[in-house]
């Protein structure tokens, strides 16, 4: 009986403390059981592999018994052994063959409440951080025989599991081809977040997101039914929906669940909020410093009165307040939840009030800054609301130099830019008239 060589059986594997290697002897023959104790379920190994071994008289019988266990694979050749070990398989090395039995620990991840896109009445649970569970959630929500699931890996180092789901009957094969090409081109080492995947698949420097990241399983199922491709990344509770056009980012799932008397005005409100959050600071600078005829007489006198205490030009005031609100938003995201509310109170209420009383900003500017911040939160999808936060700054600069004409030109340029964008070959500003009927 020759001694067992770990390096020979599993090439490329470095010794590690959680690597368990045990020799199973029967009738002067021996097999080797290898697994990573941190990844595998010991109880399961005991009840399946060990019990099978216990009941056998020789190795051939044991080998045959192993094939009966669920999750059995025979490793024929190549260097797949280490791969299997790292994915939670237990290896049984026979003198002439290697068997792999899936013995992964059950995932502890549970679906949490939807946090980035909550709605009041509708499905409340989001995806979990476990890929298998997420695929299961989608299969439950979208029990179609056409639903196709493919697995791949992304990231040269992290080798994160990525599931590609689509409805074979509805999907456009061009999008799949395009996606395959882009996935092959990804060179990132460590991929850990859905937003990161979205960025890697689309252009990094685009102003607007062209793939939609959501934590809502119902939105994902709806996307599938519309023929979209869904990407699920292991370890994140989000799905990536592609292609996605501008209007997708403005729709909340509530719109499909409630009366049009309510949802249509709300949709209009969202577009108005987008206009306010992007253009209001710029319009303030333009109207106050170039075109005061824009205001009603009483308002003009009041603004002039409240501006009279402010010693510097209007755009300094705007930049100062925008900096404050952006800093506040950023701080309340990073801070722990308990301190977050204190930060907003101190920053928003006290500082705003004090700045106005000290004559650093006019009272109208406080209203503008807060309505810009509030309107930004109306946008349902987070990535789009980040884009909108960004856009207001170039517009303010346009207003600074060219007044109202500059603002209008700036907005026009952004619309032209959005019209030139493509999301996986689909025009970004395309309208889908009549399609909404199917989702009701």
């Amino acid at each position: 009986m020759k001694p067992f060589h770990l390096q020979a059986a599993v090439p490329g594997l470095e010794p590690s403390s959680d690597l368990v290697s045990r020799t199973l002897n029967v009738n002067q023959e021996s097999a080797q059981l290898i697994y990573l104790s941190t990844l595998c379920d010991k109880q399961y190994i005991q009840s399946s592999i060990m019990q099978a071994f216990d009941a056998c008289g020789n190795l051939a019988e044991f080998n045959a018994k192993l094939t009966m266990i669920a999750g059995f694979e025979r490793i024929k050749n190549g260097n797949l052994q280490a791969e299997k070990l790292l994915h939670g398989f237990a290896l049984v090395v026979f003198p002439d063959a290697i068997c792999a039995i899936e013995a992964k620990k059950a995932s502890l991840a549970k679906p949490s409440e939807t946090s980035s896109e909550s709605i009041i009445q509708g499905p409340q649970k989001a995806f979990s951080e476990d890929l298998e569970q997420n695929v299961q959630i989608i299969r439950t929500r979208y029990p179609s025989k056409n639903l196709n699931v493919e697995y791949t890996e992304i990231g040269t180092e992290s080798r994160t599991q990525l599931a590609i789901l689509y409805d074979k009957a509805k999907v456009d094969p061009d999008i799949l081809l395009d996606l395959d090409k882009r996935l092959a081109g990804v060179e990132a080492a460590v991929v850990q977040a859905s937003n990161q995947v979205q960025m890697l698949l689309t252009s990094r420097f685009e102003f607007f997101p062209t793939a939609l990241v959501t934590d809502r399983p119902d939105r994902t199922a709806l996307s599938l039914s519309k023929g979209k491709v869904i990407l699920l990344l292991n370890g994140t509770p989000f799905s990536i929906n592609l292609p996605a056009v501008f209007y997708d980012f403005m729709v909340s799932m509530d719109d499909a669940y409630q009366s049009p008397w309510l949802t249509r005005p709300l949709l209009i409100l969202r577009y108005m909020a987008v206009f306010i959050t992007t253009a209001l600071p710029a319009l303030y600078v333009a109207a106050v410093s170039y075109n005061p005829e824009f205001f009603q007489t009483q308002l003009a006198i009041e603004i002039a009165g409240s501006r009279a205490a402010v010693p510097y030009a209007s755009f300094y005031e705007v930049f100062f307040m925008l900096f404050m609100t952006e800093a506040l938003t950023e701080a309340s995201i990073r801070l722990p939840k308990h301190i977050g509310s204190t930060a907003t109170t101190v920053g928003g209420l006290i500082l705003g009030q004090a700045a106005q009383e000290a004559g650093l900003v006019s009272s109208i500017m406080i209203i503008i800054a807060s309505s810009v911040a509030v309107s930004n939160f109306v946008i349902p999808i987070n990535t789009m609301s980040y884009s909108m936060r960004l856009i207001k700054f170039p517009l303010v600069i346009c207003a600074m130099y060219f007044g109202l004409v500059g603002v209008v030109t700036g907005i026009f340029c952004f619309i032209v830019y959005a019209a030139s964008l493509r999301s996986f070959g689909r025009p970004y500003l395309k309208l889908f008239i009549g399609e909404a009927k199917k989702s009701r």
Binding site: S289, E302, G305
Partner: protein, 364 residues
Amino acid sequence: MKRGWIWKGVLILSLLWLPGCGFKDIDRRFFVMAIGIDKSNHANKPYHVTLKLAIPFTKIQPGKTNAYQLVSDDGSTITEAVRHMKSKVDKELDFSQAKIIVIGKAMSAEILQKGTLDWFLRRRDIQSAAYMALGDPTAEDVLNVKTGSERFPGDSLFLSFDQDGTESSFIATEYLFDFHRRVTEKGLDPYMPVIRPMDSAYLIDRVAVFDKKRLKAILSPEETRIFNALTTDFQHFDIETKSKTLQFAIAVQHFKYTYTIDPSAPALHMNIRIVGESEESTETLYKQPWSYYERLAERQSQTRYMHLLQKLQALQVDPVGFGLRYRATRYQRDKDWTAWEAMYPKLTFHAKVQIRIKSSGGIK
């Protein structure tokens, strides 16, 4: 090479501290609320221009925040006067909120000259929808009034003329664009409401009628109401009827008139239809059938309409636009206008008023 880029970046960033060239903050501007044009005593500088400048306030309070600064200057043109006035104030003059132009009574003939009116029309920042009015005795006196209910200087005047605030049948509203049109259009003559200052208030109950050259007459308040109804279709007036035994008033709810011109007579037939509600009466309106009161009111208002129409004819002015209607319906190049000019002084008016009393008001 790399250093060059850094310098260019610093240069571009430094631009962020500077605004564009037209940049002037709202608190560095003086809002002109009203423009007044009077006749000065100097022969070579006939225009005495007065501007009412608003002093800004943070919180508007009626009667307290209507502080203003009045600046005036003489000039041979309005432009010259305004240019020189800029040296008297510390902020840039902004005409974008100037919603009323008051012309002094002595200046009334000059404003009809093309050049004078042009200044208001050609300036980008003066609105075409600004109100025109005649100041009696002078425009400066009108601008120098501070009423107790004003929220900002000039507010009272704006509210009097737009139908936003008071809706009075005595106030005739005239806009700059309409005035200009009436000055140039054949067969449609200009008019202007007359503002008279009364210690810390205004009285606007008369209207001045012009031909194309000068001020012809100022109508009485009673005539102004009829004038208002005919020129602007003003709906909210009332009709007083008096007889030996009885006096009652009808509040008009609906007013409509049509007219036809018969060139063969020559005559103008006017049909006026009024629907109203009796508002105040010295006797119960059930002693006679309503048609009795209706006929009584019809007869009396008919004479009022006839009186005004004949007065305008005698003054040789046509603010209602009969001539324009004639030209529009009987087009013959220039002949129609000469025909109308000959016809208008000979025209006989036949006004037929139909009044219907809808109800006798509510009972509480």
